[in-house]
Symmetry: C2
Subunit: 332 residues, 2 copies
Amino acid sequence: MAITSHDVARLAGVSQPTVSRALRDDPRVSVATREKVRRAAQALNYVPSEAGRTLSTRSTRRIGVIVTDLTNPFYPHVVAPLHDELQRLGYRMMLLTERSDEAVAEEKLLDQSLDGVVLATATTDSRLPAQLDRRGMPYVFLNRDTGGSGDYASVVDNEGGGRLVADVLVGLGHRRIAGIFGAANTTTGRERELGFRLALADAGIGLPADRVVRGAFEYDTGYRALPALLEAAEAPTAVFCGNDVVAIGVLNAALAAGLRVPDDLTVIGFDDLPMAAWEVFRLTTVRHDLRELSRQAARLLVRRIDGDADPAGERLVLPTEFVPRATHARLH
Amino acid sequence: MAITSHDVARLAGVSQPTVSRALRDDPRVSVATREKVRRAAQALNYVPSEAGRTLSTRSTRRIGVIVTDLTNPFYPHVVAPLHDELQRLGYRMMLLTERSDEAVAEEKLLDQSLDGVVLATATTDSRLPAQLDRRGMPYVFLNRDTGGSGDYASVVDNEGGGRLVADVLVGLGHRRIAGIFGAANTTTGRERELGFRLALADAGIGLPADRVVRGAFEYDTGYRALPALLEAAEAPTAVFCGNDVVAIGVLNAALAAGLRVPDDLTVIGFDDLPMAAWEVFRLTTVRHDLRELSRQAARLLVRRIDGDADPAGERLVLPTEFVPRATHARLH
DNA sequence: CCTCGTTTGGAATACGTATGCATTTCTATG
DNA sequence: CATAGAAATGCATACGTATTCCAAACGAGG
């Protein structure tokens, strides 16, 4: 059923190696035969076998992208530019959507079917990076990393972003401030919390335990956290959320609870997903360049594969910017 | 760098074929040597080469899923159950996210690196199915198909769903009704429109051209369509949207235009994405079982690959159900 | 003690492509 | 016209795994 280069060779009246060379524009094959081979390949609808090529060249021109939950709107916005940039660099993207990092490691990453890996949902306790290191598989972190030195990573200035928000909230007069941060085993969660806490501390404001929630970067985290925060002795007047998806969960919970935003509650997100600008939300948030974050990761990985990256590791950090919309207000 | 079955064989003191057999639990290898080989493989962290196996067996146990725009929240909700079901069936999912169907065909689907394909974003004018047929590559349509007979498809009763909505709107007293349908080259768009029109016609209600918009199943389609519909001589009192994402665009546009939903305008979607239930939307819509739709597609494809499917084609149709929430109201 | 059948393992090879090396076919130059 | 050199193509082989076929070893029965 499948058509091989041998079939093309037979039809064109040349040898198989000549077909291989002709189709790859090897200068060693004459223009005449090149044309002849091309026509034969066209006629037979020949497509080179990926497996054969891989086995022969020991290179797949394919890069794996690990994402645990595509349902989270954040990731599609990462995956799309990643795909385009990788394609531009001559690689194909293979999206691996596993529930957990670990299941992925053994079977799929190390079977020589990938030239490199982008880790988009790394946790600080994952054993995956070590496994990849051991097998010499090039990889980069995207958005999250493990916080170790010597890593290759394209990340955001999370700490700076957290600081931005704290400064704004303090400037608006808020004192009873709550935080719904990301999971403690993610650097995005930790760094945003750190920056936020440090800037609050600079202003002499504390963040008591009953005004702090940590959880996955999901809608439900925000949706369920708000009622809990409101039950505290002194309800917060402002909430900083680990990302936009969590903030949107909070906004919906606020609506369910009959709270008006921003009059009764200021809500601030992180990421500035397209969704954040929707009229129903008009979410005040922290922006960073998600496209550039992804493109940078792609380029860094390819540099690493080519051996052109700094052997000591490279950590590319993108700046953040405060985006005022309609979910924050001065405390009255 | 890479460890092969030959390395394992050397360490275990057996031949390479024995390694292959031992790790695949071939009864022809004794329990003792099997254990010996296993330990050697373990010690070396051996992972079989995908390319080598593919070349030898001519089977990849890998299925491609074609989706054009992951940014559209509909698709992640299809991809996740698809991934799980395929995994359950012993296949790996490879997600192909190309802008257009055509770019995909030549290079990626026919290079013998896939055992089958799921088409989730087919258009009626796509040449891709014909190409796959020509090369004997098994495939199924998911959600959308091309409307041809002899196809293998897992779809929704779109026409019935369209009828449901029309009946409800008529029953609520609406007469000036608008439709924002999907693209004309998709069966989902066409069938929902057809069912809607037929049921309206049954009630003696027409659908004039200035109350009809067609466009991609995207947020922007709804967001931009509403202002246009409102400019008509007689503004509609109800809008049926081709899917939830479009409806959400309409809801945001309504908010921007100062229209109250459902008092000023009834809005109805299709799909019942999790997002539709969010408090900010509470979208009245048409539900179908997206998980089952995906699982069914996976099972159908695997049956087709195994040669167990009906050679005349199979078209599995899931029922729809009306989901009343808060975006519809009786005309007063 | 010989023979036959069974069990277990190895040798050889196929899968499809790419590439180093040998070979042929030109062209140009003496 | 002979020959060196360049250009073009073919031959042989490697890549890693799975499988077909064959050989060895072993035990049982006569």
